[in-house]
């Protein structure tokens, strides 16, 4: 297996907030993590990205223990996008997206080509010289996504793209565009792990789903069409018996 998490546990001040989580994914899989606010989705993603240490357990990627990888090595294979984070510094769109090239020693031609491909896929043409502080929320989210995509663009069959609520601020057209792009990259060998509340959009694209309980335990994992039931959703989100959301779920 390509990406494996063995009994990952996260504790904050000695209290367990996540886990134990066990995941075993083939390269070229899309895993969506679903759960209530505070269930530990972002913590799990940060552990995967190497930005937070697990209190227990290990992550392995393509036969190597992730925590033993050097920073520079990990950065070439794991790209991470945090939840929406505004900036106050007037980087241009071009400068911001190119931050994704920092871990790589690309030639200027390779860099330029990858930049144009990524920005085209995120419909950012025409915005290159605009300051990111002047963009709308949705435009800036696409710039941030392009930054993360650029990081793994040329090495997708040996990389993991970790996205924390990537659809935030995107209109329906760009949500669809992103989901299609990610689906295509996954079919080309990229592994995507995302946290999302938009799981109703998932059956059309998703390979795997991990549902977390409000206390951070794994409730279920598998194909969304087989895994997500209205009862599971009710437990994961602690919905009332007469919840209108629950009534709308038809699986």
């Amino acid at each position: 297996m390509s990406l494996r998490l063995d009994d990952i546990v996260a504790k904050h001040r000695g209290v367990r907030v996540l886990g134990p989580i066990c995941i075993d994914l083939e390269q070229g899989t899309w895993l969506s993590i679903v759960g209530a606010n505070g269930a530990g989705k972002s913590t799990l993603l940060r552990i995967l990205a190497g930005a937070e240490a697990a209190s227990d357990g290990t992550c392995h990627f393509q036969g190597q223990t992730v925590s033993e990888l050097r920073n520079a090595e990990r950065a070439k294979r794991f790209a991470y996008l945090a939840q929406a984070a505004p900036t106050q510094f007037p980087f241009t769109v071009r400068e911001y997206v190119l931050l994704g090239a920092l871990p790589h020693e690309w030639s200027s031609e390779t860099r330029r080509n990858a930049f144009f491909d990524v920005t085209k896929s995120m419909s950012l043409e025409g915005l290159f010289d605009r300051s990111v502080v002047q963009l709308s929320g949705g435009e800036f989210q696409r710039v941030r996504l392009a930054r993360a995509l650029l990081q793994i663009w040329l090495n997708r069959e040996a990389s993991v793209l970790i996205l924390d609520e990537p659809l935030t601020s995107l209109d329906w057209k760009h949500q669809e565009q992103l989901l299609e792009l990610l689906g295509q990259l996954v079919s080309e060998g990229l592994t995507v792990v995302d946290a999302t509340h938009q799981f109703l959009l998932m059956p059309s694209h998703d390979d795997q789903v991990l549902v977390l309980s409000p206390r951070g335990e794994a409730l279920a994992m598998g194909k969304p069409s087989l895994t997500i039931t209205s009862e599971l959703v009710q437990n994961a989100f602690e919905l009332d018996e007469d919840s209108t959301f629950r009534a709308r779920l038809r699986f």
Partner: protein, 317 residues
Amino acid sequence: MRKVLITLLALASVVLALRLGSTSLSLTQLLSGDLEAHTVVWQLRLPRVLLAALVGGGLALAGACIQGIFRNPLADPSLLGVAGGAAFAAALGIAFAPAVAASPWLLAGVAFVGGLLATLIVLSFGGRNTDLYTILLAGLAVNAAALALVGLIGVLSMETTFRSISFWTMGSLNQATWIDVGVASLILPCALLLIRRASTLDGLVLPDAEAQSLGIPVSQSRRQVIVLVAAITGIAVSLTGVIAFVGLIVPHMIRLSMGATHRTLLPCAFAGGAILIVLADLLSRTLIVPMEIPVGIITALLGAPIFVLLLRAQVKA
């Protein structure tokens, strides 16, 4: 192109500051072997102008770095407590240790150590992960307390002591010597080390976890930047006192006019800071001859309106 322009402006401001003063010198006098001009330039003006350029450049570059790592364009090197700490140590020396007060060298050393100690106190609040907001708030508190104590020492001391203490809180280049220039040149290696970290500073503009995923050791890089900034600010304050506003407004002006990536921002901020202090010092010694207005007052009076105009232009854009 813009880098060339700002460098030329910096050089022009240096030439202007060498020419003007209580005695004005023409360019021919500057370049010829005229003895009087030679004395005025080499003994008085050149060390003062070079000190102004090094301190101004260093403070502006330090400000740009601090704003970068705090992800806050309103941050300033004084937030690390270094300026307050240095001024407090100097005030203690002036008021209570005659030997320190009598030796400019010793006084500068004491101020430098005071600045570094204050920074260490501030950093210790941030813990191992150098939590930004804790450091920011601790820095504000330490700086405010240190400056309040400086004020208290000033109020409790005699008239002459009060005057020399006020030098530390308002900044002045009055006593500049070649030795000061020698000490201030230590700012240059610190500045170069920071400029070498330009791409790391770019990455630190992202949220910590994203910067980490780009391969940047976030806490370690942040600590290195803070130590270098504290060293620059400590050297600057120990030589000239607290010159306010440079570290805040110059990087902001450069970002608005030249761009935000640190590869451009840091060298241009250095040049911009040098220009501001060289010109402010020129005004401080020529506005009311033979009196000298502390340069910190000029930088604030000169910088504030420019800053507001730039902000207005930004809002309109």
